[in-house]
C-alpha cells in the first residue's frame, strides 16, 4: 500500500494569508475559519490556481523525439506504473469575494469557478496500449478507466466567529453545475484466448455525463469541454455544499486546525448515461456476414458494434463534488517564523489523493512575507515550493508555486501547482 502524503494547495494553502505573524498564526484564505486580524472590509480580487498531478511519470518520461516526431511511449515507465494510476488537473478561478471582519465575527460572500479532471487507469491498460494484447493471451486483465471531469460555479456565504480564542467557521455554497463526466462503474476485463484469439469481455461499465461526452459509437466519440464557459453562471443544474472548520491554540505557540470543505452535491437536470454490463465474446467476423455484405465488413467495426454502450437519460441525477479534509498544526518560532504541517485528503468519487506538507513562514518585514514548503503529494516526493506575499497600502498580492523544479523543467515533474491573486484591505 502506498502511503500518500502531501498538501492540498490549489484553493487552500496557495492563497497564503499571513496577516501578522507576530500576532497570529498562519491560515489560508479559503479555510472556513479564515479571519483577518484587523477589522474592516476585505475585497478579494480575481485569482487563479492550477494544479497538475501524475502519479506515475512526467511528460518527458513518455515523450521521445524520433525522426521528426514526438513519440509518446509508455515503454520506459512500465516499471513505474502503479496498479491504478492517476492523472489529475484541477483549477479554480475566483472572480470576486468580499468579507467584513470585526473583532469577533467575519462574514463574506464570493464566487469561484472550479474544475477538476482526472483519469485513473490500470497498469494493464498501459501495458495493453504499449505492447498489445498478444503478451496477455490467457490472462484476464482489467482495463477499465475512471474518467472524472467536473466544472461548476460556486456562490458562497461565509461566516466565522471567535469564541475563547477558538475560531469556528463555515460556508454555505450554492452550486451551479456546468458540465461533468463520471464513471460510477469502471470494470472492464479483457481476456484473449489462445488459438483463434477469441477476445472475451466482462463489463460492468457506466459513464454519466452532462454535455461533455457526445457518443455515437465507440469509433465516433467526441469530448467537448468548455472549461471557461462562465458567461452563463446559472442554469438548471443546482446544488448545495457546506464547509466547516475549527482552529485554535493548544498552547501559546502552537495552533491546530481542522476542516472539511465541499460537503455537498449537484443535481443535474438531465444527464446522459452510457453503460455496458454484460459478458461478451468476440470471435472475429462471420464469413457469412462478409459474403452477405459484399465484403463491406470491417473487423474493427464489428468489434465496436459488439461493445456498443447503451444510452439512456437520467433525470435529476445527483453527483458529489470534490471534498477536501484537512488537519494541521502551526507553531511559532520567535516573532517572525512559523513552522507547520498539514495533512489533507482530496476525495472525489473513487479518486483519493493524500498530501502532507511542512512549511516555514517568514515575516521578512516591510510587509513582505515568504514561505518555503516541502510537500509529499500522492506518491511524489520531490516537491519543494515557495510563496511570496506583499502588501502595499490597501493592495496585497501573492504568488505561490508548489514545485520549484517545475520552473526549470516544467514537463519533468509529476506534480506542480501555482496560484496568483490579490486583495484590497480597508482596515
Amino acid at each position: 500500500m502506498i502511503i500518500v502524503l502531501g498538501i492540498w494547495s490549489i484553493a487552500g494553502l496557495a492563497q497564503v494569508e499571513v496577516s501578522s505573524s507576530d500576532e497570529s498564526f498562519y491560515v489560508d484564505l479559503d479555510n472556513p475559519t479564515y479571519r483577518s486580524t484587523t477589522a474592516g472590509f476585505h475585497f478579494m480580487l480575481p485569482s487563479i490556481g492550477m494544479r497538475y498531478y501524475n502519479s506515475s511519470f512526467t511528460p518527458e518520461d513518455v515523450i521521445v523525439s524520433n525522426e521528426g516526431k514526438n513519440l509518446v511511449t509508455l515503454k520506459e515507465v512500465q516499471d513505474q506504473l502503479l496498479d491504478r494510476n492517476t492523472v489529475l488537473f484541477q483549477s479554480s478561478l475566483r472572480t470576486i469575494g468580499m468579507m467584513w471582519h470585526n473583532d469577533r465575527i467575519s462574514i463574506g460572500i464570493g464566487h469561484q469557478g472550479r474544475w477538476l479532471g482526472s483519469l485513473q487507469y490500470t497498469d494493464d491498460l498501459a501495458s495493453l496500449m504499449t505492447f498489445g494484447n498478444a503478451s496477455l493471451i490467457g490472462n484476464p486483465v482489467g482495463i477499465g478507466t475512471d474518467q472524472d471531469y467536473l466544472y461548476y460555479n460556486e456562490f458562497h456565504l461565509s461566516g466565522a466567529v471567535e469564541i475563547g480564542g477558538w475560531t469556528i467557521g463555515g460556508k454555505a455554497k450554492f452550486l451551479v453545475g456546468q458540465e461533468f463526466i463520471e464513471t460510477p462503474s469502471r470494470d472492464i476485463s479483457i481476456n484473449t484466448k489462445d488459438g483463434g484469439y477469441t477476445i472475451e469481455f466482462d463489463n460492468d461499465y457506466q459513464i454519466n455525463t452532462y454535455k461533455v461526452l457526445n457518443y455515437r459509437g465507440l469509433n465516433d466519440v467526441d469530448v467537448a469541454i468548455e472549461p471557461w464557459g462562465i458567461s452563463s453562471p446559472f442554469g438548471n443544474n443546482n446544488g448545495l455544499a457546506f464547509d466547516f472548520g475549527v482552529r485554535g491554540p493548544i498552547s501559546d505557540r502552537l495552533q491546530v486546525h481542522a476542516s472539511v470543505s465541499d460537503m455537498g452535491s449537484i443535481t443535474w437536470d438531465e444527464a446522459t448515461t452510457y453503460a455496458s454490463s454484460e459478458q461478451l465474446s468476440y470471435k472475429g467476423i462471420d464469413l457469412l456476414d462478409y459474403l452477405s455484405e459484399d465484403g463491406n465488413v470491417d473487423i474493427a467495426d464489428s468489434l465496436y458494434n459488439l461493445l456498443e454502450l447503451k444510452e439512456s437519460t437520467a433525470q435529476e441525477l445527483s453527483t458529489g463534488i470534490p471534498q477536501l479534509w484537512k488537519l494541521g498544526f502551526t507553531g511559532k518560532i520567535g516573532s517572525n517564523h512559523q513552522l507547520g504541517s498539514e495533512y489533507s485528503v482530496l476525495k472525489h468519487n473513487k479518486l483519493s489523493i493524500n498530501s502532507l506538507k511542512v512549511f516555514w513562514v517568514y515575516d521578512i518585514g516591510s510587509n513582505w512575507n515568504g514561505m518555503f514548503h516541502y510537500s509529499i503529494v500522492g506518491n511524489t516526493y520531490d516537491n519543494i515550493g515557495a510563496a511570496i506575499m506583499k502588501r502595499s497600502g490597501l493592495f496585497q498580492w501573492h504568488l505561490k508555486i508548489d514545485n520549484i523544479i517545475g520552473l526549470v523543467k516544467p514537463l519533468d515533474v509529476r506534480y506542480g501547482s501555482f496560484n496568483v491573486g490579490g486583495s484590497l484591505f480597508f482596515d
Partner: protein, 500 residues
C-alpha cells in the same frame, strides 16, 4: 497531446523542455503486438446460399439432401391475348327491318354460346318526313334471364325539329348470345301515327368494345406463341476447372391451363448453355413427340388443370449435359390448340390462361472431380499501413465428405498475381469420413500457423484484389456422395499482428 503540453508550459509560466512542440505527436506502436480473431464461421451450403445471392433457392429434400432449384420466369398467355376485345370502329347500317349481323369472330371459330362482357351497343334512327314514329328493336338471339333483348324508341318530327334519334349506349353485359353461324338477327318495327309499318330511311347499330365473359364453340387450330426464357445457373459461376457429376439433375416443366380445349406443347428448343458459351441440346422423346397438357372439360369451366413434365436421366440426356459447366438453360415453348381435332367443342372464359414455368432442380448428390472454384474481391489495405507482419493461426473442421485445398492469392490492379498466402499450394483439408449409411460420421480437422513476414506483408499491402481459390474433390469415395444440409465447414482464424 500537444495542447496538453502547451497548457503545462503555461501552467508553470515557463517553457523549458526538451520536447519540440513544432513536431507532431504520435503514439509509439513499435512494440505493439495484437492478437485478433479475424473470423470464425460455421459454413453450411444452405447458409452460404442464403447470403451469396444466387438466383436459385435451396430446398432440403426429405433425406436431407440439398437441392438447388432455379426457376425461370412465369410465361403466360391469357384469353385477352388470344381472343382480344374487338373495338367497334364504325356503325353498321340497318338496311331492312330484318337483318343478319355478323359477329366479330374469326372465320375458323364457330361460336355456339357466349356470355357478353362489358359491352355497350347503340342505335340511330332517322326519318325524312314530318311524322311521329314508334320503333321497337329486337335481338332474338340475345337474352338475359330468359328475356329477349327488346328496346323501343320514338321519333317526333311533327314540327320538323327531330328527324333523327340516337339511343345512347345500352349495356348488354351478361346477356347470353346464342348465335347461328356466328350471326345475330336484328329486327325492328317502325309504326307511324296511323299504325302503318315503314322502313326507316336511316338506321344504324354500333358497339363500343365487344368482349366475352365466356365463349363456347368450336375453335380452329392455332398456336399460342409463348415467349421463351433463359434460366441462369449461377451455382457454378466461380467454376474454374474440374467437374461435377450430378447423380440426378432435372428440368421440370409445370403447366397450368384453364382453356377448355386440347393443347399440346411445341418445344422450339430447350438448350443447356455452358459457362464457355457452348450450346448443348436437351434431347428427349417428350420434346420430339410433344406433350399433351391437361385441360378442363366444359363442365369444369373455371377450373385450372396442371401438368408436370420432368426431364431427367431416364427420359433425356440431361445428366450428361449438366456434367459440363452448365451456365444457362434456354427454352422456347409454344402451345398448339386443337391440333388435329378441329371439331371438338371447347370453351374459354375471360380469365382463362395458359401458364408455363420451367425449373431446374440440382440435387447436390454426385461426384466432384477436382472442382476448382474461385472468388475474387477488391482489396484495399491502405488503412492497415501500420501492420508490419502477422502470424496467422487457423483451425478448420471439415464436415463435408470431400477433400479441400484452399489458397489465397493477392493480385495487382491488372490481375497479375503478386503473392500467395500459403506455401505448398495452400491449406489441404481431408474429407470427412462416411459411414455405411452414406452420411458423414467423422469430421476431419487441421490447425496451423502461417507466418506473413514483413516482406510478404508489404507485397500484400500493395495488392489490389484478393482471390480465394478452393479445390474440391470426392474421388476418395467411389460412390456419389450426398451433400446434406447438416454438413458444416467450421473455420476460424486469428492473427498476431505486429505494428510498425
Amino acid at each position: 497531446m500537444k495542447p496538453l503540453m502547451v497548457a503545462l508550459c503555461l501552467f508553470t509560466l515557463m517553457s523549458c523542455t526538451d520536447i519540440d512542440f513544432n513536431q507532431d505527436f504520435e503514439l509509439d506502436t513499435s512494440e505493439v503486438e495484437l492478437a485478433v480473431p479475424l473470423f470464425s464461421s460455421q459454413l453450411s451450403i444452405p447458409a452460404i446460399a442464403d447470403v451469396s445471392k444466387i438466383n436459385g433457392n435451396i430446398e432440403i429434400l426429405e433425406d436431407g439432401t440439398i437441392q438447388v432449384n432455379y426457376r425461370g420466369n412465369v410465361v403466360e398467355q391469357s384469353s385477352t391475348q388470344i381472343f382480344p376485345p374487338i373495338p367497334g370502329i364504325f356503325d353498321l347500317p340497318i338496311i331492312d327491318t330484318v337483318q343478319q349481323i355478323q359477329l366479330p369472330a374469326n372465320a375458323q371459330d364457330q361460336i355456339l354460346k357466349a356470355v357478353i362482357g362489358d359491352t355497350n351497343i347503340d342505335f340511330t334512327f332517322g326519318i325524312d318526313t314530318r311524322a311521329l314514329i314508334e320503333i321497337e328493336v329486337t335481338l332474338p338471339e340475345l337474352s338475359k334471364n330468359g328475356e329477349v333483348f327488346k328496346k323501343t324508341f320514338t321519333i317526333d318530327n311533327r314540327n320538323g325539329n327531330q328527324s333523327t334519334i340516337s339511343s345512347g349506349l345500352i349495356s348488354i353485359e351478361d346477356y347470353t348470345l346464342l348465335p347461328i353461324n356466328n350471326q345475330l338477327t336484328l329486327r325492328y318495327q317502325a309504326l307511324n301515327e296511323q299504325g302503318q309499318r315503314m322502313v326507316l330511311p336511316m338506321s344504324t347499330i354500333g358497339f363500343d368494345v365487344f368482349t366475352f365473359r365466356y365463349v363456347e364453340g368450336i375453335f380452329g387450330e392455332r398456336t399460342f406463341d409463348i415467349n421463351g426464357d433463359i434460366i441462369t445457373i449461377d451455382l457454378f459461376s466461380k467454376w474454374i476447372s474440374g467437374g461435377v457429376d450430378f447423380k440426378d439433375p432435372k428440368v421440370t416443366l409445370a403447366v397450368e391451363n384453364s382453356f377448355g380445349m386440347p393443347t399440346k406443347s411445341k418445344v422450339n428448343f430447350m438448350d443447356i448453355i455452358t459457362l464457355d458459351g457452348v450450346t448443348l441440346n436437351l434431347e428427349s422423346s417428350l420434346l420430339s413427340n410433344g406433350i399433351e397438357f391437361e385441360y378442363p372439360s366444359i363442365e369444369e369451366a373455371g377450373s385450372v388443370k396442371k401438368t408436370i413434365v420432368v426431364f431427367d436421366k431416364t427420359n433425356s440426356n440431361i445428366q450428361t449435359l449438366f456434367s459440363e459447366k452448365a451456365g444457362k438453360v434456354s427454352y422456347d415453348i409454344d402451345a398448339l390448340i386443337n391440333e388435329g381435332r378441329p371439331q371438338d367443342p371447347g370453351f374459354l372464359t375471360d380469365s382463362s390462361y395458359f401458364r408455363i414455368q420451367v425449373e431446374v432442380n440440382l440435387p447436390i448428390d454426385g461426384k466432384v472431380n477436382e472442382l476448382v472454384l474461385q472468388e475474387t474481391t477488391d482489396l484495399d489495405l491502405t488503412s492497415y499501413d501500420e501492420v508490419a507482419s502477422m502470424e496467422l493461426n487457423h483451425t478448420i473442421i471439415n464436415g463435408f465428405p470431400m477433400d479441400m485445398i484452399i489458397q489465397v492469392y493477392f493480385d495487382d490492379a491488372t490481375g497479375m498475381q503478386l503473392d500467395s498466402l500459403y506455401n505448398n499450394g495452400g491449406i489441404s483439408i481431408e474429407a470427412a469420413s462416411i459411414g455405411q449409411d452414406g452420411v458423414v460420421n467423422n469430421a476431419s480437422s487441421i490447425e496451423g500457423t502461417t507466418i506473413v513476414d514483413a516482406t510478404k506483408m508489404e507485397t500484400i499491402k500493395n495488392s489490389k484484389s484478393i482471390r480465394v481459390r478452393g479445390r474440391f474433390d470426392t474421388q476418395l469415395y467411389e460412390e456419389p456422395v450426398r451433400l446434406l444440409d447438416i454438413y458444416n465447414l467450421d473455420i476460424s482464424m486469428g492473427a498476431k499482428i505486429k505494428l510498425q
